[in-house]
Amino acid sequence: MKKNYNNNIKGFCQCICIVAITFLVNGLSIYGQRLNQNELKEIQDIFEFMAEEDEEIANNDTYFEKLVDLYDDKVNINKASYDDFIPLRDALILSEKELSSLLNYREEVGKIINKYELQAIPNWDLNTIKRALPFLDVKGEIADFNVTTGQLLFGGKHDLFVRYSRVLSEQQGYQLKDTLPDGSGGKSNYLGSPNKLYMRYRYKYGRKISYGITAEKDAGEEFFKGTQRQGFDYYSGHLFIRDVGRFKGIALGDYRIKIGQGLTCWTDVSNGKSPSIETIKRQSDVLEPYTSVNEYLFFRGAAATLRLNQKMELTGFASFKNVDNTVDRDTIDELNLEIIRIGSIQETGNHRTESEFDNKGQNTQFNAGGDLKWENQKFKLSFSGLYTRFDKEIGDNNVRFLAPYNLYRFSGNQLLNLTVNYKYSKGNINFFGETSYSDNLGSQSGLATLNGAIISMHPKVDFSILHRYFQPEYQSLFSDPFMESSTATNEQGLFFGLQIKPHKMWTVQAYSDYYTHQWIRYRVDAPTNGHEHLIQLTFKPSRTFAIYGRFDTKTEGNNLSSDTEKELELDNEIDIVTNQRRNRWRLDLRLTLEKTLTFKTRLQTSSFENGLSPKKRGYMLYQDISYSPLSFPLSFDLRYALFDIDAFEARIYAYEKDVLYAFSIPSFNNRGRRFYLNLRYKLNGNITLWARYARTTYDNLDEISTGNERILDNKRTDVKAQIRVSF
């Protein structure tokens, strides 16, 4: 009898579990299938989850788009090969471990019959399923394509975005000069209006073909007149075709190249240090279409990837584009001599003032390169090269290039990078790395190497380790590897990260990074070292409630800031380098009610010490409310934040929701309040509208910002509007 009773209890518990899981998974998918808007919301949730983990993602306008692409073109869980899953792995939706678990499971058990079976895959927990399910086709309903050329070219999805934004508060740069003391008759410093316009059209047929055009006018730039007779200041167009004959991909127009671990070339935003283990490893196809508005970090021309055989791929590319370059001309009349000083490449893409416009397209950049890759499921090896040539010699006659911190900086007109990179999986260990050589075909050559491993030590413990060594002499123009500095040079470091899930509701994430810089850097007048540590504890008892706490500390050598020098009444000719420590604490709470209403509260504090002046502190508290009903077309997000921060060095970053495809993590300083409201209205199946209003009010400032951006008020107000038409 007792045994029976126990069995009953056991059975009852199992039932409850199954019902709960079914409800959960079902709930997710119903949610996903209902409406386009809710699909977007789902992707947005995943995106936000990723952005919280790694705030650099939030600055990446293409990452979200990548998720949408993947959503549109789901991977068939039963038919897909290892290669087909790679885009999901690259987008950090599946880890290498989860991916290999899935493939092993499929091999051993056979076809996955329905989504509930995903639970049975080793290393897949509810979070994995929640993250991956929207991108997987479990039912196998998606037909292989066999379509006519006409359908392929015009029968897919068209997507048009127009976005308008502007700072409502009056900024100095737009004021007419005759209202200023040095007035010179009705002109303002900024040539154009404070309106910012962005327009994008993109066509897609699955992943097979994509073409589109993107255009942008930054605030302050002229529009269809004066310096900008062609309308927008920046245009970008692309055509990208996949799987044509032996070609894996063909790109015409603007495209991205992403090689290995990014030591040589990675023309995309990438992950830095983050509590999640997988992000230290770069992974991507070499060739991708370019649809962003970064006005520098892309290639323009033609590129193609050719499948040589099952395991080998060859990519070749060539690019030619104009780049912005500061150029000063001086004439010495007596000698009838003109001296031309070439400064550095300008990557901002702003052409708001006459002098900014003068730099536009002053230099040309030619790039050519290739990548030969051999890859199977366990091992990948690739050799690549990139050659860059400028029309004018960078740094020519320019005295700034003679400063000691610029000793190893790239100058001249050509650069060659040769690189080898690998990935290798052995048991539960994933090794990866890249070693790159640079040569400016003149006086300087250098080496850089980066090697790491991700280890699944135990089903509950994951560990990552990464070492990098970049010689100060190493030069690269498009690199973006895992690093502490902003350019891949003059750094040696060891990073290790740890993720523990001792219980299904608890997660501990931590990392430590130690690094040294052999040579002096911009505003750091001595060789320095530093270390950074982070620990985060997450408690997630249910899908609707989560709380986490995070502590992050970083200590490194830096020059004293000019504010500190003033504060200490130091009048030194020589800048003092001290070890400076910055600590940050964060407590984050999130609660979702009825699947539609989400409350999020966060408290963040920071402190900064430079060893000489008193400790600086910062506090920020904010409350978010998001409402997105399932059956009503209007939804909103709002935030009210309070902050009190002593100094710039103790600044606090806070990720903000924005209109679709626009993201930001502004940093806060001083004392004040911040408010924003985003509205979204779905007019019908094809048209969606967004609007945003944001205002920061400072209590301790009379004016905000400096120079042309200066606002003679204690408030800054931004507005934004966006329309999306898709058919």
Binding site: H458, L494, F496, Y514, H531
Partner: protein, 300 residues
């Protein structure tokens, strides 16, 4: 080498002795090279060196164990530390002896400890205590011996262990001067060992009159006979007016080679300013009681 060069060298040595070594701990830490590779976070360990790190750990030493340890600091020939540890389990608990010698003829310290540890409450808790003899010898000034003690505890909660240890709670004086004391040291550690192949350790160390530091590390049995380790130890300094902060962290790496019943551990601590401190320990542990193998096939 003329006098001009010797003086700064001596200052450096003295600086290292007082400023850095004694900063984190008032007695020399020597818990073996396994602990060294894990940032010296050994409060949760159980081995021949538990007599020094936390006597409660002795309780889990199942067989007679002995270990010897040698460490060089910053590759400076005179800065050597040697230690040995011994643990003998009996029916009424485990007894341990450990000793450490550090320094050179003109400045040296000797620490010898007798320890005892036992388990309580169905092995859910270990307690231990040790009696310490610490002798500081500076021939030009004389030598001073202190007798003191330490007590420790370890709690086991599934795969976690929480441990605490206090050394010298009485703050014994080292000279007639009230201010010259051997500081008390309080350690609080946590470990997570989900299986025999993975161990994660973290601890906070507070030596009175000095800022707290944090140590931690991860060890992994990558191959049957090879363990790899990585860890850190923060060495915060108090930032004093008019002086620049010297807040740094030691990065530690190491490996263990298991050749039952002998194991060899090696470690290196890397200090970003002062450089490398390699160490090695060799331990012997009597044969372990082997559990009968679990017939996994039948379960499947």
């Amino acid at each position: 080498m003329n006098k001009f060069y010797i003086t700064p060298f001596l200052l450096l040595v003295i600086g290292l002795l007082f400023g850095l070594q004694l900063n984190a701990q008032n007695v020399v830490e020597s818990y073996g090279a396994r602990a060294a590779a894990l940032g010296n976070s050994a409060t949760c360990h159980s081995d021949a060196f538990s007599t020094f790190s936390n006597q409660a750990g002795l309780a889990d030493v199942e067989e007679m164990s002995v270990g010897v340890f040698g460490e060089n600091r910053f590759l400076i020939p005179d800065l050597n530390s040697f230690a040995f540890g011994f643990a003998l389990p009996t029916k009424s608990g485990t007894f341990g002896v450990a000793a450490n010698y550090y320094g050179i003829e003109t400045y040296n310290t000797l620490r010898a400890t007798l320890g005892y540890g036992r388990t309580l409450f169905e092995e859910k808790m270990n307690i231990g205590a040790g009696f310490d003899f610490v002798n500081v010898n500076v021939p030009e000034y004389g030598s001073k011996a202190i007798i003191t003690f330490g007590v420790g505890v370890q709690f086991k909660i599934s795969d976690f262990m929480i441990a605490g240890h206090v050394f010298n709670p009485i703050q014994s004086k080292t000279t007639e001067n009230e201010k010259d004391v051997l500081s008390s040291t309080l350690k609080l550690g946590i470990s997570y060992v989900p299986s025999q192949t993975v161990g994660i350790y973290l601890e906070g160390v507070k030596t009175f009159n000095y800022p707290a530091s944090f140590n931690g590390g991860v060890e992994y049995n990558v191959l049957k006979k090879l363990e790899l380790r990585v860890g850190f130890a923060t060495l915060p300094s108090r930032i004093v007016d008019g002086r620049y902060g010297t807040d740094v962290a030691n990065l530690t790496v190491g490996a263990g080679i298991i050749l039952d019943p002998i194991r060899i551990d090696i470690a290196n601590k890397f200090h970003p300013v002062l450089g490398h401190s390699p160490s090695v320990s060799i331990s012997y542990s009597g044969k372990k009681k082997t559990n009968p193998p679990v017939p996994t096939d039948i379960i499947d």
